[in-house]
């Protein structure tokens, strides 16, 4: 699927930036130009789509389970074990396996990347909710809040920093790993990096730069979202 890569040498940043904005000639495409702004935007959008889908799936699976277990205070071993095991899975093997066993495509990749995103979100949500002071929860119960109100008005606001730490970790991991998606047939920015023979060293570096910028963008957006979701009363404290 991918040609043999020579040990990459660092091309100049200048060449990479040129690659991002203007199409370059390539040795192997028979005169067809590669790279350039249009292709970079297209691959970036693919990577963005894949990341958002995988993140949505991770949140959909991990948040409810984490909130439920954290609120009940049960399943600590389960949540922590998932959190640890998930980190041990080599994503390259997982993506390669899913591509070989189930098939290529966006849906399969979304599942593979969600496997990467679920553990940190689940573990952090559980820990965040679980570590809320029991006396505070009892007080909330004492003034007549329902269990759901306790979760929504007391536990979640207090657990926001921990939950978001998990979501941010998961997001960075997903957006970074979406780079190897071309191995399973979805062209993301990793195409530039994995196909050095087509795009050249400029393409490799350009791909790496854009992926890094994308990851930073996610990090800043989530930090802003976290500030937005942090209760007013907790900000001054």
């Amino acid at each position: 699927m991918i040609g043999a890569l020579p040990p990459p040498t660092l091309a100049s940043i200048e060449g990479a930036i040129e690659f991002i904005f203007t199409p370059q000639s390539s040795n192997v495409t028979g005169g067809k130009a590669v790279g350039g702004f249009e292709q970079v935007v297209e691959l970036t959008l693919n990577q963005l789509e894949l990341t958002l889908l995988a993140l949505a799936l991770s949140l959909l699976v991990a948040l409810p389970i984490g909130l439920y277990l954290g609120h009940r205070g049960t399943g600590e071993l389960f949540a922590i074990t998932i959190g640890n095991l998930g980190r041990a899975i080599p994503e390259l093997a997982l993506i390669a396996f899913i591509a070989a066993a189930i098939g290529v495509g966006v849906l399969n990749l979304t599942i593979a990347l969600a496997v990467l995103g679920i553990p940190p979100i689940l573990a952090n949500t559980f820990v965040g909710i679980h570590q809320v002071d029991r006396a505070t929860v009892d007080a909330a119960r004492g003034i007549g809040m329902t269990e759901f109100e306790i979760l929504r008005k007391v536990e979640i606001p207090l657990a926001i920093p921990t939950i978001f730490a998990g979501i941010r970790g998961a997001t960075i991991a997903i957006v970074a790993t979406a780079t190897i998606a071309p191995l399973a047939g979805v062209l993301t920015l990793g195409d530039f990096i994995l196909n050095q023979n087509v795009y050249g060293n400029n393409g490799v570096l350009a791909g790496a730069i854009v992926v890094a910028l994308l990851a930073l963008m996610f990090e800043f957006s989530l930090a802003a979202l976290q500030r937005l979701l942090t209760s007013q009363g907790l900000k001054s404290a």
């Binding site: 699927m1 991918i2 890569l5 020579p6 040990p7 990459p8 640890n84 980190r87 041990a88 899975i89 080599p90 994503e91 390259l92 093997a93 997982l94 390669a96 396996f97 591509a99 070989a100 066993a101 190897i180 191995l183 990096i193 994995l194």
Partner: protein, 93 residues
């Protein structure tokens, strides 16, 4: 106690569980991510995966070894932490 003694005799020992938690995460995920080294000419367990990207057995074996290796590193760190934080063994935390 001097500032130096506070750091070495009080703060560092008390921070050990958190330091180990961070080490644990970093170590285990680094072992898993190291399979990607093959793309930078670094070899490793990613080699059979990349070479036989369409063969399930290759992937399962190489992936399995990588997972076991990550867990082994995790276990070593866990044991080291138990050894270095003996007071935690008596409490239920």
């Amino acid at each position: 106690l001097t500032e130096r003694q506070i750091l070495w005799k009080v703060e560092l020992p008390l921070a050990r569980p958190e330091i180990f938690a961070g080490l644990q995460i970093a170590t285990v995920s680094t072992v898993a991510i190291a399979t990607l080294a093959v793309f930078a000419g670094g070899g490793g367990l990613g080699t059979p995966i990349k070479a036989g990207i369409d063969f399930k057995t290759n992937i399962i074996i190489a992936g399995g070894i990588a997972i076991l290796m990550a867990l082994a590193f995790g276990l070593i760190l866990f044991l080291a932490q138990r050894f270095l934080t003996p007071w935690r063994r008596v409490s239920t935390a």
